[in-house]
Symmetry: C2
Subunit: 357 residues, 2 copies
């Protein structure tokens, strides 16, 4: 069994003070090179690692960032897209020597959890996921004066805050427009929960594209809910069984899109051949591509990039604050969504037979 040693033991072994050893290991300039070398070698030999808890208590910085991942209280599911977002962020953190604290939390009591994390002083900053139209976490965190970056935006909030978002409105406008240009007239929108800010923006883009062509949005073709596979299935089945079914679906996430496919099969239709087109997107990016890009992969790497950039922003904000530059203004990044249509989306042109009007 290996017992791990602390600073005191190491310094005694070296016949030096704790101060000197600490300075040597942390790269302070006032240590002689000879001493530093000796200390480094000894630390290596005994595989000394400073106790993180003690270190952070002494420095006042925990070198930890919190992410709170909402798990649906209704479906006990997390959006798997978070995995990629966190992978991207996590990479950035470990590069900078930060740890990542993950809270998996029912979406009902988010605010309490955020307040808790902030006031327990367990992290140096945090990422706010899945903001609603008017998200109370934002003013609360501002009040607590802890660095944070919102992944997404909250339209109802007045003041400025740091965010990274994708241009959801334009992305959905373009996607819907693409389908319209191909001749589709009955296009369904399977969106996320209506309380979510992104869902609102996506609705906007969708409606705008229709209006540009003089088409009024049909409320029968718009659905809002948590983005589960079953949601996609149920809604698509219902819509497909009406007398005037959609010929295309715009789906807000890859998960319900799987359900939509299932409904299409079940209705005896063949996806991408004679009935309908599904364009799904993930939580962040949109699709356009000519060729053979595996859609699933394209989505994932874009989310990963978002995570990376969010993390980088947050670390930069923390850095600035430590240097006393607190009035630099908010950091705000709008990722322009790329439209990618991969092979797995199916062919773009629906058969004339089924295309109405």
């Amino acid at each position: 069994m290996i017992s791990c040693m602390n600073l005191k033991q190491l310094s005694e072994k070296l016949g030096l003070s704790q101060t000197t050893v600490s300075r040597a290991l942390n790269g302070y300039p006032e240590v002689s090179e000879a001493t530093r070398h000796k200390v480094r070698k000894a630390a290596e030999a005994h595989s000394y690692r400073p106790n993180t808890r003690a270190k952070s208590l002494a420095t006042g910085r925990s070198m930890t960032i919190a992410h709170v991942v909402p798990v649906s209280s209704k479906h006990e599911m997390v959006n798997p897209i978070f995995a990629d977002f966190i992978a991207g962020a996590g990479e950035e953190y470990s590069r900078a020597g930060y740890d990542l604290l993950l809270s998996v939390v029912a979406d009902s009591d988010h605010e309490r959890v955020y307040r808790d994390i902030a006031t327990r002083q367990v992290v140096d900053g945090l990422i706010v996921q899945a903001p609603t139209l008017t998200d109370t976490r934002i003013p609360m965190l501002q009040d607590l004066d802890i660095p944070f970056v919102v992944h997404g935006r909250s339209s109802g909030i007045i003041g400025a805050y740091n965010w990274l978002d994708v241009n959801n409105r334009r992305a959905f406008e373009r996607a819907t427009g693409l389908l319209l240009d191909l001749g589709h007239r009955r296009i369904a929108l399977l969106n996320g929960l209506a309380t979510m800010d992104f869902a609102h923006r996506r609705n906007d883009g969708y409606t705008r594209a229709l209006l540009e062509r003089g088409i009024a949005a049909d409320p029968e073709l718009i659905a809002h809910d948590e983005m589960t596979e079953n949601y996609g299935f149920e809604v698509a089945r219902r819509m497909l069984s009406t007398s005037n079914p959609p010929t295309a679906f715009v789906v807000s996430s890859i998960i319900p899109a799987i359900g939509v496919r299932r409904a299409i099969n079940k209705a005896g239709l063949v996806f991408g051949r004679d009935v309908s087109i599904v364009i799904h997107d993930d939580d962040l990016s949109y699709f356009r591509n000519t060729g053979d890009v595996p859609l699933f992969t394209a989505v994932r790497s874009s989310v990963r990039e978002a995570g990376q950039r969010c993390a980088a922003m947050l670390l930069e904000i923390i850095r600035r604050r430590e240097e006393g530059l607190r009035n630099e203004g908010p950091m705000q990044t709008l990722m322009e969504a790329e439209l990618t249509i991969g092979q797995s989306t199916g062919p773009l042109i629906p058969s004339a037979a089924k295309l109405r009007s």
Copy 2:
């Protein structure tokens, strides 16, 4: 701006000692009810939260568990199945007042990261993911004497350790057997990396099912690699273009299975109709079902359960150790895999036209 107060300030405000306030809040019996009530009210009013770092330094327990998620250094991807595993575990942790520290790490230097986490004393225990055939992390962590649970097993390790695994061998034996019973004779196996312990066990089960029917496994029909969408696509395309293609695929994860479908489409074949059957599983469970179960959803909830149970085991191990019961023997759980065949797997019976032998 809200400034958060510490124990000292709170106790001064109350005219009590820090000791008493601490005791009152932590439920020690030797505090009078009147005092406790007063303290509780004041703490509530000022929304006092003990500083986690100080607390854990003083108690010696960090109330944090680490998970290390491998991100492929080759493909920069994490297995999305981890999201569900962690969701399950995270739920268990927050129930018990534990935090979850997540390390996203290139699969190349896993051992260093594990050693680091253990020796920095930042967590009370950890979960080992994706063990290889002879995983060096296991003896190392035993050496460091830190509580851990392995998600999976490592066949090459001699001593006993705590693990939770699924019966991979039997699951793949049954799955392959099912296809054989349906008349398939050319069944491909798309497995994970050959270094992984689970891949080895799955190979075993697959081979065994074939041998039981007197069929020798064809090495041309077996593939090992990281489970990406593209891997599934490339391998399936290659296999389908030979003169003696498979009529069914057994795929080790849902991600490459998406690629397999794409390859099937590309070859001009229709999945589940006239050519082939894909049975995929996730990292933990297997599929059987008559009806309309959305496969994707079934997988996910089983992984979630595994995460929950792993976490519960670990917390129990930590609890026992704190009570000094260190020689209780290892905890080992074998989840019997359930075979679920959902609608999205496609029909089970391939058309006679394409079924050879």
